[in-house]
């Protein structure tokens, strides 16, 4: 940084803040809409469903006959006792009104902007290319995963990240292809600084929803801010190009999972609570790993 002198550094600093906003956009696809993806495993993003008019009434009647009425009479079934002993994941939500507002903002962002643009993009660009672009950006973020493995003393995983990067950058032509998947021993992790903080014993803090970026927590927000320094795209200049790259990546990512968010909403009664809970549960699992 000294290289640039003070004034330029300040300008750079301002630029970095703006980059941060860009970074938020950049992250939107993987975080705002990936939780539903994991919530509902395996649904198609590319297929259009042809479903019947009535939702299987005959079969459901058949299903009903399986239920024994005695179960419904039991005021204190075994599972309640079991459940009482289970670990319950809770998250404070002091910014509830802000968060809910941002949840709706992201929802509209998806339906009014991201989805239509990504749908058009999908119609023009073949799937192979879109997957390639997705892989390229993933590969480019190796430093984030690598450094966080080191910070968590996961040296074997760090070695795997490095090896994957080498294989995918060369044999996989700058990361567009993913030949590393042919080496099952090179498992890919998904380490980030939020998880690193968690392994140091720092709790979630509270829930927070960012516009463009989606669900997060206080801890994970600091984590993302740290990770930004490890992402090559954050250093692209000028700003317009960086924003452009970021936006492009988001559209590309969305094009690969159109339908996922819709499915999530279809299954949820309270989508806001559902997403919050899914985010926290998923993060908890990643921290455990």
């Amino acid at each position: 940084m000294r290289l640039y002198g003070n004034k330029i550094f300040m300008n750079r600093f301002t630029a970095i803040i703006i980059f941060y906003a860009a970074f938020i956009v950049f992250m939107a696809a993987p975080s705002a809409y990936s939780s539903p993806d994991v919530l509902l495993p395996g649904y198609g993003s590319e297929s259009i469903m042809e479903t019947g008019k009535e939702p299987l009434p005959e079969l459901l009647i058949a299903a009903r006959s399986d239920y024994s009425d005695k179960d419904y009479m039991d005021d204190d079934p075994d599972f309640l006792k079991e459940e009482a002993r289970e670990e319950v994941i809770r998250i404070a939500d002091p910014l509830y009104y802000w968060n809910k507002g941002m949840f709706h903002f992201n929802d509209k962002l998806y339906f009014w902007f991201l989805k239509p643009v990504a749908t058009a993009y999908r119609a023009v660009i073949p799937r192979m290319v879109r997957t390639g672009v997705h892989n390229f950006f993933y590969n480019l973020e190796m430093p984030v995963r690598f450094v966080n493995c080191i910070l968590q003393a996961k040296f074997e995983a760090a070695g795997n990240e490095f090896a994957r990067f080498i294989v995918n950058s060369t044999e996989g032509i700058l990361g567009f292809d993913n030949p590393a998947k042919n080496y099952p021993e090179l498992k890919n992790g998904d380490e980030d600084m939020g998880q690193t903080f968690a392994t140091y014993g720092i709790g979630n803090g509270f829930y927070i929803v960012w516009p463009f970026l989606g669900p997060s927590t206080l801890r994970d927000t600091f984590g993302m801010a740290g990770d930004r320094f490890l992402k090559p795209v954050s250093y692209i200049e000028p700003l317009e190009v960086s924003l452009g790259v970021t936006g492009f990546r988001m559209i590309n990512a969305t094009s690969l999972k159109i339908g996922d968010y819709e499915e999530f909403k279809k299954a949820a009664l309270e989508p806001y609570e559902g997403l919050r809970n899914a985010y926290i549960q998923n993060r908890q699992k990643k921290v455990r790993e």
Binding site: E50, M73, L269, N282
Partner: protein, 203 residues
Amino acid sequence: MKKAVIIFILIAFVPAFLYADMRPMETIKIPIDEGMKILTDPKYKDPSLKKVQREKIWDVVRKVFDFTELGGRTLATNWKNFSPDQRKEFTEVFSEILGNAYLDKIQGAYKDEKVEYVGKEMITDSKAIVKTKIVRKKGEILVDYSMKLKDNSWKVYDVQAEGISLVQNYRSQFNEILVKESPDDLIKRLHKKLEEQQKTDKK
């Protein structure tokens, strides 16, 4: 001779439930594999047969789920505030909603996908977690099934996808509703949700 002794010992000491019914992994394998077979069956290629295919899959899948326990667990202590009739109605509507939401997804996506059985974890003699992995082009998804031995057969009472438990997720949503509203209100909302789902299905 030695072999015979070992076999005798094995037979004598293996718990009875192993004979009485299949073990959890095998129990879940059958509906999944059968479901996959229906999914990939070329005779359902015609879009007009989607509904038939869907009912077939549901028929296979529902046998291995214990919706009473699954639904009850999402209600948790709220269960006590529900009358037996409300519990019954709740379970019925909720399982329809789950069936609707998940069958769509299964029908849409599993076509080029594979399910691998990663392993099994016995928690107690009558509880187990079966770990599976859905392998798809976009990447893998870990799906764990929590199963319980009930009346001599293993039934699923929770599904965890990438660490997200279905039961815990719905519990958080139902809790949010039941803090402010009555059991009847929740059931009403479930009916409304079902209607919504049916409307989007028609489109």
